[in-house]
């Protein structure tokens, strides 16, 4: 536990001691702030009086998730790739703690940053609620969805970062599959039947969308937890591979 805390503090210090987090955070908030503004104007112009969840927050959440998908690779790329490149990983893995502690501390540190970014965007509904009260509970469900999405993506990003010592490659290989996994179900109408069902089942979009309208479905929660757990497991196996690859 002490080792976990020490590692978590080191990771957080690294995040908040480098300009990257502030640049990513600024871009993230600028993008989501603009999206919220635009979506609100749209809602006021064309949908006022209609269901606010479906006509405003759903659109806002879908915009924010794009910012999440773009931010995650930048936040995860250096987690293990940099340690590998510096060679610090070897020493780290010889301290009296398991690989699990190392991976957990890195993932949690990244989630803390992502949670902080999402917490900043929570200002939008709070501010709107002050001007014009509306039920906040379904919006909280949306934020839960965003966080689960971020956790799944971060675990995947950590996994990719464990596979390479190049941060650029790690970031690219994290972003591309996430985007593809997102777009996956957009063409479902053109390929009905068997394959489409599979595509729907693994599509990020299909599992995220219910959260945006305030619905928490256990299957969707399970999907994101599986994603996070599966890639954390994968990360541990990659670290273990030093045994037979014979390198750090």
């Amino acid at each position: 536990m002490r080792a976990f805390v020490a590692l978590l503090r080191k990771e957080l210090r690294h995040y908040f001691g480098s300009p990257l987090v502030y640049l990513v955070g600024a871009a993230f908030l600028a993008y989501t702030g603009y999206a919220f503004h635009a979506d609100l104007i749209q809602f006021l112009t064309f949908g006022f009086g209609l269901n606010i969840m479906e006509n405003l927050w759903q659109v806002v959440f879908l915009d924010v998730r794009l910012a999440v998908l773009l931010a995650v690779p930048l936040l995860t790329m250096r987690l293990l790739a940099e340690e590998r490149r510096l060679g610090t990983l070897e020493l780290l893995l010889t301290y009296p703690m398991t690989d699990r502690v190392v991976v957990a501390a890195k993932l949690v540190a990244c989630l803390v940053v992502l949670a902080a970014l999402l917490a900043c965007t929570f200002v939008y509904p709070l501010w709107l609620n002050v001007l014009q009260p509306f039920p906040l509970a379904p919006v909280v469900a949306g934020f839960l969805g965003l966080f689960l999405l971020a956790a799944g993506c971060a675990a995947y990003g950590l996994f990719v970062s464990a596979c390479t010592d190049s941060q650029v490659l790690a970031s690219f290989l994290t972003l591309m599959p996430l985007l593809i996994l997102w777009f996956l179900s957009w063409n479902e109408a053109t390929s009905p039947g068997g394959p489409a069902r599979v595509v729907e089942a693994v599509s990020l979009f299909n599992h995220f969308q219910p959260f945006t309208v305030g619905v928490i479905d256990a299957r969707d929660v399970f999907y994101f937890l599986m994603l996070a757990g599966g890639f954390t497991w994968g990360t541990l196996r990659v670290l273990e591979a030093r045994q037979w690859r014979g390198r750090r």
């Binding site: 002490r2 080792a3 020490a6 510096l86 020493l91 010889t94």
Partner: protein, 293 residues
Amino acid sequence: MADVSFTVGRGEVAALLGPYGSGKSTLMRCLIGYFSPTSGHVRVGGIDVGEDPVAARRRLGYLPEQVTLYPDLTVRRYLAFVAGAKGLASGGRRAAVDDAMARCALAHVADQRTGTLSKGYRQRVGLAQALLGDPEVLVLDEPTVGLDPVQTVELRELVRGLGGERTVLLSTHVLHEAAVLCTRVVILSRGRLVAEDTPAELARRLEGAAHVVVRVEGPAGEVAAVLAALPGVTAVEPQPADAGAGMAFVLRAPDAAPVQRAVAAAVVGRGWTLLEVRTAGPALEELFVRAVR
């Protein structure tokens, strides 16, 4: 690697010798549980590294061949992080870090970023992090490689100071280092153990390797014949002429002491001038080359 089996006793300083690529680093990584052997066991203080790596690592301090630090942390902060990662109680961390810095003479660079340190200092920080947590066993992979002569001597002094209270296993290909620092030498070649003993015992085992160096002023041919006739001498090797006076010869003998006494009487008795008689143990280089071949 195969057939490598040896024991280092408590308080010993042992050297792992071998040419580049002989498996020193791989062996050390097995010892600290970074790699696990496909067969065989490593025990540290009775704990099997493969079965309980965390408990074993608690007793181990490791200095990797390439000391890699987080470049933007200061020395103090880095060591504080390591103290935490090694699970030291937060109350004792500051004292432990100060102690490690004092031992490795790092106090005056405590607030410098590790990225700006010279190689010698980085090596000392590496040693300091290995010492944190007060491990019984230190595994040092090529601790003096790439250091300048002054730093090398300083680091050797440091390591020498650690022996006795702790068990130290260091790898090196600098034979002199093994000879001056270590009480036990393990020689590896191509992933196999080829010799293991104390430096003195290794020398004794390689029979005939002891030799006597003699320097005489006199007729070269006659001198050589007289020296060769001495009891116990197995070979006489005239040395090429050098800047010194007289002629130098190297006498091979299983036992050097009686030869040494006989040389003086034989040379002086014939009216020649004896300039030098000394024994030279087989250099570790010689043992090493023989063992590795």
